[in-house]
């Protein structure tokens, strides 16, 4: 029941209520792991579905995600104590030459809400920075973003560089952005394409499971 209520609070973007619920659940003996997985992540799945169906607007989804982030901060020390958080690492960034980041930020947020540990390395990112981040964070998933048709070739260059560096088999590569299509993703050797933030998170989860 308490987990259902957390979903309601997330959908209502009610951060204060959610924080109270998380604290109360901890006091009542629920584990941080259960609260994270059955309360917050399950709740954000509903938020993601509602975003996809158009029932929730993007600013509302962002507010819900922010509320979740604050709750995760409360849970973090406890998760570390129990060694509970085994979430996969994601490296995400906008490729070299492109300064656009709203879409990339939305994907990062939805990935985070789905339970991934997301490392957002920013915009205008050269291939070598992606490679370094993958190695450093031991990432299982890499997300490349581009809004401009002129920077789409940088996606291929980044994937090629990842292959040349010998870590291609270690990661799944997802690409996205307004001009990107499934066909383009296949052409440049990406593992997947997502048209929106919700489906990007779903796709990432399917790669991990």
């Amino acid at each position: 029941m308490v987990f259902n209520s957390m979903t309601d609070a997330l959908v209502a973007c009610d951060k204060d209520r959610l924080i109270v619920m998380v604290k109360t659940a901890l006091e009542q003996g629920e584990s941080a792991d259960d609260i994270l997985n059955h309360g917050l992540i399950a709740g954000m799945e509903v938020v993601g579905d509602r975003m996809e169906s158009g029932d929730m607007f993007i600013p509302e989804v962002l507010m819900a995600a922010q509320a979740m982030t604050e709750c995760v901060e409360i849970l973090k020390p406890l998760l570390e104590e129990t060694g509970g958080n085994h979430a996969a690492a994601v490296v995400i960034g906008t490729v070299k030459g492109d300064l656009h980041d709203i879409g990339k930020n939305l994907v990062a947020m939805m990935m985070e809400s789905a339970g991934f540990v997301v490392h957002d390395i920013g915009v205008d990112i050269p291939a070598e920075t992606f490679i370094a981040a993958i190695k450093e964070k031991n990432a299982k998933i890499v997300c490349l973003s581009a809004l401009l048709t002129t920077t789409m070739p940088a996606m291929k260059q980044t994937i090629d560089a990842i292959s040349e560096s010998g870590i291609r088999d270690q990661v799944k590569i997802l690409v996205g952005g307004a001009p990107v299509t499934q066909a383009f993703a296949e052409t440049i050797g990406a593992d997947g394409f997502a048209a929106d933030a919700g489906s990007a998170a779903k796709l990432a989860k399917s790669f991990i499971q």
Binding site: G54, P59, E60
Partner: protein, 479 residues
Amino acid sequence: MNKIEKIYQHALNILSEVGIKLKHLEVLNILDENGIQIDEETAFFTPEQVAYWISKAPGSFTLYARNPAYNIVIGNQHRHFMAGYGCAAIYDKEGTARDSLLSDYICFARLVHQCSHFSINGGILAQPNDVPAEISHLIMTYTAMMTSDKCLMGIPGNEDQVTQIMEMAALLFGGRSVLEKTPRILTMVSTISPLLIDEMDLSTILISARYNQPMIMSPASTAGTTGPIDLAGNLALSTAEAMAAIVIAQIIRPGVPVVFGLQSNVANLRTGNISVGSPAYSLQKKAVCELARYLKLPSRSGGATTDSAVISPQAGYESMLSLMAAYQNGVNLIIHSAGILNSYAAMSYEKFMMDLELMDMIMQYEDGFEVNDDTLNLELIKSVGPGGHFLGAADTMRKCRSHSRQPRIGVRENFGRRPPLEKYFKNIDKGLEQMLREYKQPDMPSDILRHLNDFMAGQGIPAPVLEQLNHLTCNLEDF
């Protein structure tokens, strides 16, 4: 002399030099008694007579509804949408035609009742082909009265038919003396261009005026067929016909409310049919408004009209031009604002929904936007800063539903799996279904209902038929 004055002067010349043929002996006698020159069936009006009698008509008037929340002022700066009127067919999504039925009339009356864009219901929302023509005016009027408590459109007819409708309105609104004091039922009068008014429409004027009920004088001369091919000449002809009808009404009952309602069309001279999707049609609406203002009368024109026989890009852009032209130019009564396809040949449920969206859009456009400290909000811009974004700002979150108008049926999310057009029609079906599901019949006081039922029984329509009428449902499967 500006363009409008020239058209007006030309219309006066038409009425004094060519005259207008009137197929109604009593009306001709009344005109004769009031000093109008009559030659057999043709009446000739001097410019002074026209100006004198038109000056008797009010510049604006309130149309009263059963529910006072729907009372509206017709005239001045007020603009009102009205649904499609007068069609005898229904087109489906593919443009396939069928006869319109009583169930369609009921459905459209319910849809009009449900939609906040409309304050007026009834009239000929769709001609019920399954009802004998001799009594269809009774059935339609009764249905409109039972279905909705908004303002009412009447139906033109012979003297007996219009009297029956007026008597029904009297029963609904508290008796004839009450009815005569306030405009309650608005009836459309059409001329037969060029320069002829038949017995039915003159009877409609005669009876409506005697009951002091408002009329829309609506010549529809069509440039190239029933009117001169030049728009100036066509407008002048329509103006002459409307002015003649208004003078007649004012002579019968000085002060009876009238609307200057030119429906001046243009012809598609490849076929001879009218063309209501053309810019020339919209252009004439602009002139109608200016002429009405010049004459100090309320105006009327067509609304979301198209020559397309099916929901299509053509239907969309033609309807938008036509509706926008009417609204922006300040037409007081914008008839045919929802549902019309194929140059008035048919009503369409899908088009009705599409046109509601056009109205939503136009009204939002007309609303404009506010400029003040709150809407400029420097603090917000400071907090986001260069290179940030406003998507996650609390201000955006707070206003995202009120400020980001979502289309009623339009598709914006085009990255899904469903083809956009399929989704568009699904949204239409969903919208229709929701409006009809949420419809609630307004209460009708039992004594009025009894009087109306007794009246209908007196016209040969027995209670079981009325009972059946009240339980007819809108079957979405039939669409």
